[in-house]
Amino acid sequence: MAKCLINNSIRTLRFMANEMTQQELADRTGVTRQTIVAIENGKYSPTLELAFRISYVFDKPLNEVFSFQYDEDPVLNKKVEDKRRKM
């Protein structure tokens, strides 16, 4: 199984939400600020529940907050990208 890399746009979304602080987002999602920092820096992939909570705070669908790419399987990565373009 290829290693999955999860990217996110939390920093941008926080900026667009009246410069929401990391602490505010942490309080609203029930985690510590350190966890939000780790997610933003790509050092931690949140559980599905936390991912949904974060997207709920920004009122965005999950795929606008988080995206993924396979870094070790370019063929599969291309297939995923092609499928996404067709949608």
């Binding site: 029930g30 985690v31 510590t32 780790a38 050092k43 931690y44 992939s45 559980t47 529940e49």
Partner: protein
């Protein structure tokens, strides 16, 4: 350094100081030249049992002192919640510490099997317990720094 990382460093130092001082105290008070006592099971039983309340009380005192100093210096409260990331890191560190303690236990049994004195078994058990506690904290610090 974040609050959790500072707490881990405090735990690390507290463990080293508590166990170090306790071993030194027991050695000076009870052993001190009388090495025959090392083969007395009652001595080891008492020493291990006393270590539990001593380390708990010492950890509580050290954490209270840390909380006071932390509040004065940074004006921040220590976070009381453990989120999913904290729990994952905790589980990973417990797994590593269990492996180390298990290796120590096997080593202690092997020492007995090869004819070592019972004191060797208890010393290996104590050392593996100490190492597992220290490495558990180091593993936590590593995952907090590097990411999960």
């Amino acid at each position: 350094m974040y609050q959790k990382e500072r707490q881990i460093v405090v735990n690390l130092i507290a463990s080293i100081i508590t166990i170090g001082l306790y071993v030194l105290y027991v050695y000076q008070k009870q052993v001190a030249g009388n090495f025959e006592i090392l083969n007395d099971f009652k001595f080891w039983g008492k020493s291990f049992l006393w270590l539990i309340p001593v380390s708990i009380v010492a950890l509580i005192i050290i954490h209270i002192i840390y909380a006071i100093i932390n509040k004065i210096v940074t004006n921040e409260d220590i976070p009381t919640i453990d989120d999913e990331r904290d729990r994952i890191i905790e589980l990973k560190s417990i797994r590593v510490s269990h492996w180390i303690f298990t290796a120590g236990f096997v080593g202690a049994m092997a020492a007995l099997a090869f004819g070592a004195k019972p004191s060797a078994m208890f010393i290996i058990l104590l050392a593996s317990g100490f190492c597992s506690a220290i490495i558990s904290e180091v593993v936590k610090l590593y995952y907090y720094r590097k990411g999960v």
